[in-house]
Amino acid sequence: MKQALLIFTIIYPMVIPAQNPVTNNAVTQQLLEYLAENDNDISENSQSIDDLIDQANTPININNINKSKLEKLWFLSDFQARELLDFIDKYQPIFSKYQLQSLNTFTPETIELLSLFVTYGKPDMIHKNYLNGNVIIKDAFDIQKAKGYQTNDSSAYLGNNHQIYSRAIIEYGNHYSTGFVIEKDPGEQFLNKNKTDFYSGFLQYKGNKLLKKVIIGDFKANFGQGLALWTGSNMSKSGSVSHIRKKGEELKRYSSTNETNFFRGIASSLAYKSIQLQTFISTRNKDARIEYDSTQNLSLITSMPQTGYHRTLNELSTRNTLKQTTYGVNINYRWKNISASAGTAFTQLDADSIQTTQTYKQLNPPTTHSQNHWLSYNYGNNNFIYFGEIAIDKDKHIATLNGFLIKPTTNVTASILYRNISTKYYSPYICTFSESTNPSGETGCFIGLHMYPIKKLETEAHIDIFKFNWLKYNIDKPSNGYEISIRSNYKITPTSELSIQYKEKEKHRNLTTDETPEYTTKTYNLKKIRLNISCQPTENWRIQLRTEKSIYQYDPLPGSSGFLSFADLHYESSNKRLSSSFRYTIFATDDYNSRIYTYENDVLYTFSIPAFYDEGSRVYFTGRYQLTDRIKLWIKAGHTWYPNKKEIGSGLQTISGNSRTNLKIQLQIKL
């Protein structure tokens, strides 16, 4: 449910007028916060959100929907997708969203959410020659200039402190689309030698016959459960009980700003009856630091930065220095309730070897030539789904993942997922359900339960027990741990909701004190409890209050605790042209370990989940105004204040003073 409602916070208030988003807002933010708390880079997941926003801009008729189209709506659980398909099959044409109320797995919020992406009634006439365009221009910057902008030595930032982003996507008819993205991060040069720091583009053709799709340019490829190849998103573990199975389009155009995780080349998808064949080839340059040994004529990769930052001469020297070639093929077969895929991918880096100094990487060091093969499967009906993947690398190390979802009654969903990844298994594009970002050597079992014990009470609980059979980053011995989460949402009235969440995680971490010898690890325990209340007293106003407490224990060192609370007000005018949000947050934590994450509203196509630590307060305001039918303007201004600090940040990012103010302005033009 959480994932199903994720986009309400981001899309609903911005794209479509809100009707009853209170419940959704309270719930959907939790997924993003969960991802941030589990060290996922949220910015890398923006593509998933971008795709949904694009989908909302071009809704499809529900009577034309099929399984692969439903996969794009990844917020729907497997059971919901199956029940919807059966329902459409039996009762089509569907004329109204109210007909969907008889679906057991759909709550009123899910129906509202789905209605953002579909139209009802008889299938629309297909307009072959329509032109749709969507242009976004954004500028974001801090008022206070960081140290990197004020020094004159060689370590100074080369560009100004503005983040500039521009994106255009144009669709012609149902078959053709093209788009480009240009972006410069703060500190990077803009239009240096007539080109900006990051640019991306694609040309796409979608067909109805044998040739289903061709993409020339930038694209992402997602196969199986992400054990071998999954790009464009970094959602390793969602924590949602009914969304443990990864799904999405196998090949998809890329229009996001993550500078690392995408392909550049040609991708195609062919379909014949129940068989689909996807092929792709990509060649692009990545950031790397390479040392050449002229005596032996060998090149050694010493590091491969993933940040995408090219702000200083040092960072710029690594830009696009390493050629990477990837190609692969995937064949998919669907028959009734069974779906199976098999594929292979080859990746080659234009260097002789990669230096690996970290001990935890010694058993599965990154290689310049890698091969991964996979076999994935999915079988189920309206009451259960069984899915999994087995992947093997070029040295025949194996990774497996198997999951089972069951719906014994209409108000209960249970899930179990087991993963076992060899300590020596290596894939450069692994992104699977796991605790660790690099899941090699991880074994784990996730058990979840989602239910409505009484009509107005939704409860979701899970436990994930994991074991690392080899060292991990900052854990210098094999270790184990667990994660527990219990969340209950009680709908006080149709427009107000109370939510309580308890989470606990226990893992190992290196103990770095002067008294202890090296390689000592100790268990840390992190508990978080959250109380959230949201309410929509009128059609125009929405209010959310939250308070959260975190407790961090790490014997023998002293523990720490943190506290965060915010009050959030959202207003939308009756004619939907104006909407704005105001939030005041206070926080006080003893240290970084007891930090607390919280979701923030932002401009369209952007979302942020900052981590709050130390003592301070933050106030922000966002506003959206629809200037004309085709032009919208967003503004966000935020101010964070730390009473006990004399400077904020570290290194070149240091700001002198105890406050930071950021501004963001964005314009959307629809063609």
């Binding site: 309410c535 506290f563 206070i586 003592e615 204040w641």
Partner: protein, 284 residues
């Protein structure tokens, strides 16, 4: 005089004795940021969700409930030390576009004192939502250093997610205004309050609140209020760490309400407060 009036008088007398007993040894916290009215301190300083004119000193978003012009005067003396006492005078009037009000609050003594003048407007946006905005002018007088003045704002919201539940928040000085006296710059406290109240019936309510002031640890507040009849209100609560236990009573006499409270700080001792409210033209 009939029998019922005699009984009422006897009860009033006994209650007044109780007040005197409770208010005699007076002591409490000396933070100007925590100056609430006696009716709120009596219930553990849980003021963000209260209504009526007493809410002016905690969260004026609750003032929308008054039906006629009201005046309130309060006195609060921490730890029996008159130099730390706070006096306040408030007036509120319901108008067609909302409820307007003004207040004067003075803390300190002749050598050092802080006087805050406030004007604000509370508007009921919907039957379950009211908002408030207030402008404050703080004037500090320090004999050795001179005078200083600063303007800052505060903002509050009350809403009812359910007919028996009131939730609220209030923020004072979100802009982090400072006040400068000669070379000395002091930060005016930024106070954030978040509260929730459950009214099991029109007579009894329970409230919980958190208060966070800059550079102070979060204060948890808990309180109950019970209207025994149309005449007497009993209050009890606790807040802070070390714990402050609070007791309070209120007497409603036609248009006049008298409130009293006692706060027992675990270490510092007892403080007390007294308040008087008059409602003009209120129909009984």
């Amino acid at each position: 005089m009939n029998q019922q009036n005699l009984k009422q008088r006897a009860f009033f007398k006994a209650s007044l004795l109780l007040i005197v007993f409770l208010t005699n040894p007076i002591q409490t916290i000396a933070q100007p940021g925590f100056q609430s009215s006696p009716s709120i301190l009596g219930q553990g300083d849980t003021g963000s969700t209260t209504s009526g004119i007493s809410s002016i000193l905690s969260n004026p978003a609750g003032i929308h409930t008054i039906k006629s012009t009201s005046v309130s005067a309060n006195y609060y003396a921490p730890y029996m030390i008159s130099e730390l006492s706070t006096q306040s005078l408030s007036v509120a009037a319901p108008l067609s576009f909302g409820t307007t009000y003004g207040s004067i609050k003075r803390f300190g003594f002749d050598k050092y004192n802080e006087t805050t003048f406030a004007v604000g407007l509370t508007r009921q946006i919907a039957p379950t939502l009211s908002m408030n905005f207030q402008l404050n002018l703080q004037h500090n007088q320090i004999v050795e250093s001179g005078n200083s003045t600063q303007v800052f704002s505060s903002f509050g919201v009350q809403f009812a997610p359910h007919q028996q539940v009131i939730a609220a928040f209030h923020i004072t000085n979100p802009e982090k205004a400072t006040i400068k006296t000669r070379e000395e710059t002091e930060t005016i406290p930024s106070i954030y309050t978040l509260g929730i109240r459950w009214q099991s019936n029109p007579r009894f309510s329970v409230a919980y609140e958190i208060i966070k002031q800059t550079n102070y640890k979060t204060t948890n507040c808990f309180g109950c209020e019970y209207h025994t009849n149309n005449f007497l209100i009993a209050r009890i609560g606790a807040f802070g760490k070390p714990m402050n236990y609070t007791l309070g009573v209120g007497f409603i006499l036609n248009n006049i309400t008298i409130d009293a409270c006692a706060v027992n700080h675990q270490t510092l001792g007892i403080s007390s407060g007294l308040g008087l409210t008059y409602n003009f033209n209120q129909k009984q």
